[in-house]
């Protein structure tokens, strides 16, 4: 049985994340203890809300350093929604704020108009298909193993990740013609903009894939 630690920093619906991982056969602990986080077998950073609030809550609990330390161990890490956005270097919401810097890049507001100038609703709420990048289409042995391009997952966000390097962008979605980053990856460090715990069977398959990832030595 895989042991999963979920970081509790006061942001978001932890019960749903816990239940989804348990449904996939994991043993789950929810914690805000830096020591437990560093020792985790699998670490999950969920969260909904604003980037600055999230970072402030992590910081006030002394968790920034321990999450960074965990990400360096090569053990599997998954950020979800706000947890994914905070993995980048900076967030641009009422100013520029530091993130966890696990993956190079930044988080910006979703553009108000599509490439053709038409407007769309923000937040981007709803089910949207996962799309590979042209030169980076191989999802084998990643958390998207066995997922077919176009399979839908549930998004709800107003800001969007812009990884600095295309090799860190594992999948996008398309919203009114805009390509929005859906999954980031660097080694065993993953982030999903969407909510796998709210994405029905496809989401559960992604969680199962995550639980099959072996630590890097």
């Amino acid at each position: 049985m895989k042991n999963v630690v979920i970081v509790d920093y006061g942001m978001g619906n932890l019960l749903s994340v816990q239940r989804a991982f348990e449904h996939c056969g994991a043993r789950v602990k929810i914690t805000s203890s830096p020591a437990r986080i560093e020792k985790a077998e699998y670490l999950v950073l969920p969260g909904v809300g604003a980037f600055t609030d999230g970072m402030r809550e992590l910081d006030s609990r002394g968790l920034v350093r321990s999450i960074r330390a965990f990400a360096k161990t090569g053990r599997p890490f998954l950020g979800i929604c706000l947890g994914m956005q905070m993995m980048l270097e900076t967030g641009e919401e009422f100013g520029i704020y530091d993130g966890l810097a696990l993956i190079p890049g930044k988080v910006v507001m979703i553009p108000k108009n599509g490439p053709d100038g038409t407007s769309h609703k923000i937040p981007h709420i709803g089910w949207n298909g996962l799309l590979p990048l042209n030169d980076n289409g191989n999802w084998e042995n990643t958390i998207l193993h066995g997922i077919s391009p176009g399979e839908s997952v549930y998004f709800v966000h107003s800001f969007s990740a812009l990884p600095a390097h295309p090799q860190n962008d594992l999948a996008d979605c398309s919203y009114n013609g805009l390509r929005l980053c859906a999954v980031i990856r660097s080694g065993n460090v993953y982030g999903c903009q969407f909510h796998p715990e709210k994405s029905s069977d496809v989401g559960l398959r992604i969680i199962n894939n995550f639980l099959r990832i072996q630590p890097l030595r």
């Binding site: 619906n13 839908s152 715990e197 709210k198 994405s199 496809v202």
Partner: protein, 253 residues
């Protein structure tokens, strides 16, 4: 066009799913969790639970239903009815809801919209509006499931709700609710075109033509349905298949 969200709306009273007619006259349908699980297995995109009699003493009812839902249903869940404070919202989100829908308390204290959206994010804050037509292009907001009028103009209230931080509008037509005769298309179009946030059309769906109309003519971002599902008029699968056949994008899977 992106995927339209199809939402099962489950009004609950005590331990039962109920189905009303024009928000009056209730029929007991059974265990809401069982209905929700069935719709989940069939491929519904979201669930909305509304406790239609939630009083100060009965708020735990919806929390229990939400908690049981989170055990085996892995799609977004919205809960409403009787939420009066940030603390109430926090409890229901902790029970596993992703969003709270608020009507009465927001009308009485609009600041609550800001407080909840600042604390939990605007994506959690669904403003529920019950609209009753007054004339051409005019609707009045009601609460307590169409029982109490407010004198508040729906168009202005929706705009204000958005400005205060609501992330979505759940827009129920009191005139059409329970009638299974179609949505108030003009109402949905007016609010959906005015606001940059998603609008969920609710109240009136009797068949798939109604659904097509509220999407194509009303520009709804999401559609809440009750009657067609609870009475087994169509399965979720049938509705989705028919949507795709008519060129309406929905999630497959």
């Amino acid at each position: 066009m992106h995927n339209i969200r199809l939402i099962a709306r489950l009004d609950v009273k005590g331990p039962n799913l109920v189905k009303g007619i024009q928000l009056e006259g209730l029929r007991k349908m059974g265990n809401p969790n069982k209905f929700a699980k069935k719709y989940y297995d069939e491929g519904i995109d979201e669930i909305i639970y509304m406790d239609i009699v939630a009083s100060l003493y009965e708020r735990d009812n919806i929390k229990e239903i939400v908690r049981r839902t989170s055990e085996d249903i892995f799609i977004p869940v919205t809960a409403g009815g009787g939420i009066r404070s940030v603390e109430d919202a926090r409890e229901i989100l902790r029970a596993g809801a992703d969003k709270v829908a608020i009507n009465t308390a927001a009308i009485k204290n609009p600041q609550l919209i800001s407080d909840i959206s600042k604390r939990f994010g605007s994506q959690c804050m669904v403003l529920s509006i019950e609209a009753k037509r007054k004339g051409a292009g005019q609707w009045e907001a009601y609460y307590d499931y169409g029982r109490e009028k407010t004198g508040v103009d729906v168009v202005g209230w929706a705009q204000k709700g958005y400005e205060l931080g609501a992330g979505e509008i759940l827009l129920t037509s009191i005139d059409m609710e329970g009638g299974a005769k179609g949505f108030d298309i003009e109402l949905v179009r007016t609010i959906s075109e005015m606001l940059p946030i998603p609008v969920i059309a609710s109240g009136g769906m009797g068949n798939i033509d109604d659904l097509e109309m509220v999407i194509q003519e009303g520009h709804a971002d999401a559609v809440a349905m009750a009657h067609v599902l609870h009475y087994g008029v169509h399965s979720v699968g049938e509705i989705k298949e028919e949507c795709l056949r008519r060129g309406i994008k929905v999630r497959i899977g």
